[in-house]
Amino acid sequence: MSLAYSIHYTAENSYEHWVHKADWQFLIIPETNATQKFVSVEFSNSINAVNQFSINGYGFPTIRIHPKQQFKEISFEASFKLIKKEVNPYDFKSHSNTAEAFRKIEELDFKVDFESFLSPTPYTAMPSKYQEIFRFDSRITIFENLQELNHWTYLKIYFKTGVTDVNTTVNEIIEKRHGVCQDFAHLFCAIARLNGIPARYVSGFLHQGNGYFGDSQMHAWVEAFVPFVGWLGFDPTNDILAGTNHIKVSHGKDYKDCAPLKGVVFSKGSNETRHTVQVLGQLQQ
């Protein structure tokens, strides 16, 4: 069984004065991987600027727009259709020897292989007073530890928009105890990395209509690397494992590598941006 998704993304920007020079980059195209198969991509903008399909610095597909005419308003619309195979997040061969897994993460080769996803970033650097905030227990498996961390993160922060913004660091998250999916994901990454587990920030879409937190906009969750198993997805915002409801777009060290929309706009005066995301899933036999 699988799900046929149809995703609709819009962004509307309006500016007080004429804009003469602007560049945008969208990182919103779902990734093609073992569980995600593409059917179609449609992309358009209101002023008929050329849509350039390219990649970001980590090789994920992007769309870039560079209008050649002036404008005060511009809107973008994207539609994706894709088939998502049913994912059972518990369907992996668990490694029975916990001690060996904990030894593995101490090896230099392991640390070198996953350097990108083990080192702190400005978003995920944990202040020294919180270094011991969540210690992994070597008596249970790494996967079980990560599940505990998922649950712990879910309980630690209350989902609330407007308290944090795109620049919020883990220190502020711990102190404010409120945040959105991005903050849950950063906190999870920070703690997993402190415990020697590679963790990467994932950006994507979430199936709507199941009452999940964070489904009205693009969503963020985490993939953590479990030795002898591989990358597994955790969604601390909803205290679940990433599965059939999660449509992955990109991953990176933190939000900065995955920002869905980047714009370089030279304009004066005020401006407004509105985004909408619609994700519809239909069961397929």
Binding site: D23, G57, Y58, R64, L108, G263
Partner: protein, 487 residues
């Protein structure tokens, strides 16, 4: 202190404890300088004052100036030029040239490795902190194969001569090293002022830098390009090195552009011209990594070109130097240079590294604690000269404080012997006479595909303040024409 007999050097005070480039320990003029010494000595100091004025105005008229930041108003200044050249004989130069090539190649291989398999780290030769605690390590560069396999196309290696008469490398600059235009202008200025002196020496030319740079940049063109279109990109006319950017573009015969003159379409880079868009293949960029592409790096940068990094990643354009080279000119990497050279080239370093003691190693810690008075102690993670203590300038009490700090956090500190830069007679305006001043030398090495070029000459920088060891243009330094002699 001893006085010398020569019109112009009559008041030259020679401090015998310093290594003088033109006088030996006994105070005799070294053979290679003898002719020059006689020629200059035939002039009176009055002539010299006049010539000095002439040279200064020649620089102003050519517009060879630089900006001093800070202060109330930004000022255009000329880089003080000294009329008495520095001579490097062919044997000494051979060491410098081979050493500079060796270091540049080793650094290039090091960069390739740390952006690919990271073998040198896996084998425990350098610690992982060199990359994961460096702000200059660009994860976007992982797995990218730069055209021709070259990262540091242009390297500026700073060397000094210590009082033992040997050359030591102080720094490898492999981001956007500057100063080469001064080398060429210094030569021009000296030729205008004292043409005759060149008749007595067989000196290598320095004006061939631009053509060699262009030749070598063309060897690292992107795949599928026949005759590459090269440009120089500058942050703009307010940059302190703008003169150099325009000079290099002009002498290479290529366009000088700013970010706004370029655009990216379907992952190719184009230049706007009055005849329409023109594809660009090789960019000699004088903009720092984080400013080259606002969509990939600093979003508020208006200097770069949106989409440039994607074009680079797809192999459609060459950037010289490659993004992410900065990781290899960090202070911490410097201390591992002998091991890096040995590891990649299986050679002994030709140029000396200033020896570095790592306080994290117990035996070296003991040595450092016993010799604080004769060492420079530096924290490994601080930039900009903070927390540095120079042993011979500390009081007894301060030495004890430094020792205590090192004992508390041995991992945080490294120590190096205090280096004594050689001195060279330099004309000092205030006293209207020649005095000893400390000098260093910046060399310029260009790496291309299977070929390399070292400019036979370099920028000899002079610390104009008496006793000052910092020879930087922003710190009130000057420079000298530097002659490399043919065999």
């Amino acid at each position: 202190m001893q006085k010398l007999e020569n019109q112009i050097f009559s008041s030259y005070l020679r401090n015998p404890s310093l290594f003088d480039e033109i006088f030996d320990k006994k105070g005799d003029v070294k053979a290679v300088y003898q002719k020059l010494f006689d020629l200059y000595g035939a002039h009176s100091i009055k002539d010299y004052v006049k010539l000095n004025e002439k040279a200064k105005s020649s620089f102003f008229n050519q517009g060879i100036t630089f900006q001093v930041y800070g202060g109330k108003e930004n000022q255009e200044k000329i880089f003080p030029f000294d009329l008495f050249p520095r001579i490097i004989d062919s044997e000494e130069w051979d060491i410098i040239e081979r050493g500079a090539i060796q270091r540049s190649k080793a650094l290039n291989l090091f960069l390739w490795d740390i952006y690919h398999d990271k073998r040198i780290i896996r084998q425990g030769i350098v610690p992982m902190e060199l990359i994961n605690s460096s702000a200059n390590y660009l994860h976007q560069m992982i797995g990218i194969d730069p055209p021709g396999g070259i990262y540091n196309h242009i390297s500026g290696t700073d060397v000094i001569k210590h009082k033992d008469g040997k050359y030591y490398v102080l720094e490898d600059n492999i981001r956007c090293p500057s100063g080469v235009s001064y080398v060429i202008c210094n030569r021009t200025a000296l030729k205008r002022a004292l043409f005759g002196v060149f008749n007595h020496y067989q000196t290598y030319t320095v004006t061939n830098y631009a053509e060699n740079l262009l030749d070598l940049l063309e060897t690292v063109k992107p795949k599928g390009v026949d005759v590459p279109n090269c440009v120089v990109i500058t942050p703009g006319m307010f940059n302190s090195a703008f003169y150099e950017h325009s000079y290099l573009a002009k002498t290479m015969g290529v366009e000088l552009v700013e970010g706004r003159d370029l655009f990216v379409e379907n992952d190719f880079v184009y230049m706007k011209t009055i005849k329409g868009a023109e594809k660009v293949d090789v960019i000699y960029r004088r903009i720092d990594d984080l400013f080259i592409d606002p969509l990939e790096f600093k979003p508020d940068s208006s200097l770069g070109v949106p989409g440039l990094f994607a074009a680079y990643k797809k192999g459609n354009v060459t950037l010289a130097n490659a993004p992410g080279t900065g990781v290899a000119d960090d202070k911490a990497v410097y201390t591992y240079m002998p091991q890096i050279i040995k590891y990649y080239l299986d050679e002994e370093p030709i140029l000396n590294n200033v020896h570095t003691y790592h306080c994290s190693r117990p035996d070296e810690l003991k040595y450092v604690l016993d010799h604080v008075h004769e060492l420079v102690v530096k924290p490994v993670d601080e930039a900009g000269g903070y927390g540095i203590s120079i042993g011979n300038r500390l009081t007894k009490q301060e030495i004890e404080t430094v020792k205590a700090q090192i004992k508390d956090h041995p991992r945080k500190y490294v120590a190096q012997p205090i280096m004594s830069l050689s001195v060279h007679p330099t004309y000092i305006e205030d006293t209207e006479s020649f005095e000893q001043r400390h000098v260093d030398l910046r060399t310029f090495t260009v790496l291309g595909k299977d070929r390399e070029f070292v400019l036979k000459g370099g920028l000899t920088r002079v610390a104009l303040q008496k006793g000052n060891l910092i020879v930087n243009s922003s710190q009130g330094g000057g420079s000298k024409d530097t002659w490399v002699l043919k065999k």
